[in-house]
Amino acid sequence: MVPSSIVSITKHDTWLVIISAFVISMPFILSYVALAKKFPGKNLVQINDIIYGSYLGKFVSLLYLGYFLVMMSLNLRDLADFYVNFIMPDTPLVFFLIAFIMVCAYAVRNGIECLARISFVMIVIWFMVVATTIVLLFKDMKLSNFLPVFEISFTSYVHGTHLFATYPFCEIFIILMIIPSVNNPKHIRKYTLLGVASSALLILAISIRNTAVLGIVSTITASPSYQVARLIDIRDFLTRVEVLTSIALTTTLFMKVSILYYASVLSMSQITRMRSYYPLIIPIGIIAVCLALIIFDSTIDHALHATNYHPFLVAPIEFILPPLSLLIVKMLGLPKRIEGE
């Protein structure tokens, strides 16, 4: 899923911005993986407790928890806004929020293994959808749409790169909550990098498709991917393929919200040292729905926040805290002392 509001800033050079954001976020992703490798079998909250001590560690963990909760309600709101704007305009927002969170709650209740198993099916769906739309749109693509390369201003490049680095790529630090349940901890780095690289490739393909088909029009549509799929028309026989895009969007957001939901429930249960996270699932789901309802007044508000404020809001949590933790670990030589005890 490409953040659509960014297209209004980077215009037809979005593909360049995606590549530079991928390169820039690489060291940060490596630092997350290195942090996970230093503490095998421990998740983010336990790592914070070891590094910062029990009180400051709790505070840092609460920061992360706030991030998970806010990101979860932002993504929930994203999905509900999409449905209200494009598919069912007369239905109230809260209906989609509650229906969606119930599915996610069921997935989280069944545990991380269930999520991991279903994610494979979802990945196949996303690749199929992107490949199908690209093949069906071959006749509409114009490579001249890319042409004045490097036309936008330098600040727009910086802005776009920052946004792409925070929004799809460095969000991967959520794997620090999931890594303890990985089967084969030796290959974490390889598979994380492989996952990020394939997702970057997918985003790149989507953005190139959107720009090649829509050109400058993609900067004024609310959802370029949906608009692109609407254009598919093979001899008046194969039309309305946009339903594929909405399926892909729903499944992506389901996966994302479920993982964020799992991370926030698990981190809260570990901050309060509970023995299981099941009792927290329903209350945190209700709080996330309420937060999603009040968080923005309108879709415009949401887009404005996502483009202008979001990169700075999440930068301390994604770019500063995990590398700082890694630095502290290196300076104090922490894991050795733990092993010695």
Binding site: V70, M274, R275, I284
Partner: protein
């Protein structure tokens, strides 16, 4: 609307609390009750049309606008 909300929350509490008491999970019971009360207050305020300030808006106006921690589009 408010009555529906109260009934729903009673159902949730009735579904969760007996099993927690049976297993003697006292700490879990306390945390669950705190969070459920929080969720109930939150949703009750929304159903009564009380204007709750959005936390992101508060951060936007009070911190990010003040110290210019944002991008401006031309």
């Amino acid at each position: 609307m408010t009555y529906v909300l109260i009934v729903v929350f009673i159902f949730i509490a009735a579904g969760q609390i007996p099993s927690l008491i049976k297993q003697k999970y006292w700490r879990e019971l306390v945390v669950f009750s705190i969070f459920l009360t929080l969720a109930f207050t939150f949703s009750l305020l929304i159903s009564l049309d009380v204007k709750i300030p959005s936390p992101l808006k508060v951060i936007q106006y009070d911190i990010q606008d003040k110290y210019n921690l944002k991008y401006q589009q031309e």
